[in-house]
Symmetry: C2
């Protein structure tokens, strides 16, 4: 094991300059003469020198690392989110320290603590709710914390979320327009804040409209859960509409409706989803859904990281109705 990257010291010796000259050469604003810079670059090149960012960060207390924690990284929605975020972070010049929480409910606190140890500059949470103590620690240590699509309760941290209530409202209105008289609202058993907001807003609106709603909630947020929901709920022949708070659920529900429960969609049954994951536009589904904008969400997150002084607190991103074919 030839452990050992070349150090600035060695480069300096080879170039016949001081080691600060080397440092300056590799520092954006460093004042070095062209001649020296050239010599240094040459020596560095020959030796295969790489700045040591760990040492660099140790000095000026900035690791350049942005911690990202999330669960369920392979779900269509989260992976889209992560894709956009990691790209944006890189473009912004910071790196992404990714911590995968096996279980969003439990694992997230220790992961954030780990991020503290790496002196992450900021922390972005894709799923799960950090306990208050963690949030306090972030504040105490100047680590900016951004929560995506989580609860809106805490006012002392940055929150970026889609306009779930409005989206749910759009869904409700759409189902009313489809003349539904008894609708199901299906959520997973994980009861995430976003799902709750959607389900609650939807239900509230439906009740106001005097439309009967039956709630279903169980299992993980997966296609299979949606499928099961469809099989169970559609035994009831009265249900003629469904709002699935997540596209994954909606797609499963849709398949169950058509393939298992012999419903024609949208003739017998109207379905509206939420998220607009890529699969929602696939020809076999053509799901009518409420779109979250990954780009806008990411942009707001980056904004929250960049803004230095007036801490941005709550940013809500607009959603939009994507009309496809599953609602009459």
């Amino acid at each position: 094991m030839a452990r050992g990257f070349v150090t600035a010291e060695e480069v300096a010796r080879r170039a016949g300059v001081s080691r600060s000259a080397v440092s300056r050469t590799f520092t954006p604003g460093g004042s070095v003469s062209k001649a020296v810079r050239k010599k240094v670059l040459k020596a560095a090149q020959e030796l295969g020198y790489r700045v040591n960012r760990l040492a660099q960060g140790l000095n000026n207390d900035r690791s350049n690392l942005i911690g990202v924690v999330g669960a369920n990284l392979s779900s269509p929605f989260i992976s889209k989110q992560l894709d956009a975020l990691s790209l944006g972070l890189l473009r912004r010049g910071s790196q992404c320290l990714l911590l995968n929480a096996a279980d969003a409910r439990k694992d997230i606190a220790p992961l954030i603590e780990l991020l503290f140890e790496f002196r992450a500059q900021a922390i972005v949470v894709l799923s799960g709710e950090p306990p208050a103590s963690i949030i306090d620690e972030c504040i105490a240590n100047g680590v900016r914390l951004v929560l995506i699509n989580q609860s809106m309760d805490r006012t002392d941290t940055n929150i970026v979320l889609s306009d779930d209530s409005h989206g749910a409202d759009l869904a409700a209105l759409r189902l009313r327009a489809a003349k539904c008289r008894k609708v199901a609202v299906v959520t997973s058993g994980s009861q995430t804040p976003a799902q709750m907001r959607r389900a609650n807003a939807f239900t509230k609106r439906m009740i106001a409209e005097d439309i009967e709603v039956v709630s279903w909630s169980d299992g993980p947020t997966t296609y299979e859960t949606g499928y099961r929901a469809g099989c169970e709920l559609l035994k009831d022949n009265g249900i003629d509409g469904a709002f699935c708070v997540t596209d994954l659920l909606a797609l499963g529900f849709l398949d169950a409706a058509r393939l298992e429960m012999n419903r024609r969609v949208p003739q017998d049954l109207s379905i509206v989803g939420f998220d607009d994951i890529p699969q929602a536009s696939w020809k076999s589904y053509q799901l009518t859904t409420i779109a979250q904008s990954f780009e806008a969400l990411t942009e707001k997150v980056l904004a929250a990281l960049d803004s230095d002084e007036p801490e941005i607190r709550l940013q809500v991103v607009p959603v939009s109705m994507i009309e496809r074919t599953t609602a009459r």
Copy 2:
């Protein structure tokens, strides 16, 4: 900005011990008396002390960071892979520095260089081929490099891949069993090594079996590309079988066949995919495909990272045929 985590120094002062005592307390094998350890822990707790891993890593030249670079992070296959990998890494006690390559062909070299600067212990490449110079640099600096599903050419680095040729062979045999007489093999225009291996092995076998094969190749590796392939290829009424080297392509192809080109699958046309992404098992598709094992792949990657002495070079993971409903 109250920048500033508590340092070991401060903890030491508060606990009334030396700072080495603090260090030892937080070092797995450190020899400290119970009494001191307790005092230190108490002080650390009260002050909210967090070990600084950057400083720690600076010392013993191990950052504990594993670099992961990949493109297309939101594609079903890659995201599954990343999910499993990041989880495995975490369990193994190392963290995952994720770099998202916007373009797998070009961006990957600079990203790996960035990883060098962070003194990543090892680097896992999910997509893209690092140039030889980078591989040499890894070797020179003792950074273990693992490539997943890339080319098999280089013998001086760790390569983990699925048995593409065998998988393609299974697909070919399956299509022969379906009595196909003219088959299409569809790949994306990105010509990744894995796709090439699959297409080549398939074609070779089909020729040996005296079955006509027509190749199609274009665009990015997406559902839409598969759909387009279907629309274009199925103008030819003679085609009665298709091997899509990726499930995403296969799903698009399947939709085009049924929904646009009026083919009954599998009666008129048999389709086999590759990867076994989650969507392949969705009720609307039920795609017959060749499964890669994410778990096995990940396990091999971790093994390649862990094995210290005899460098593991090439590990090929078996694939298996998943019989569903799209092949006669």
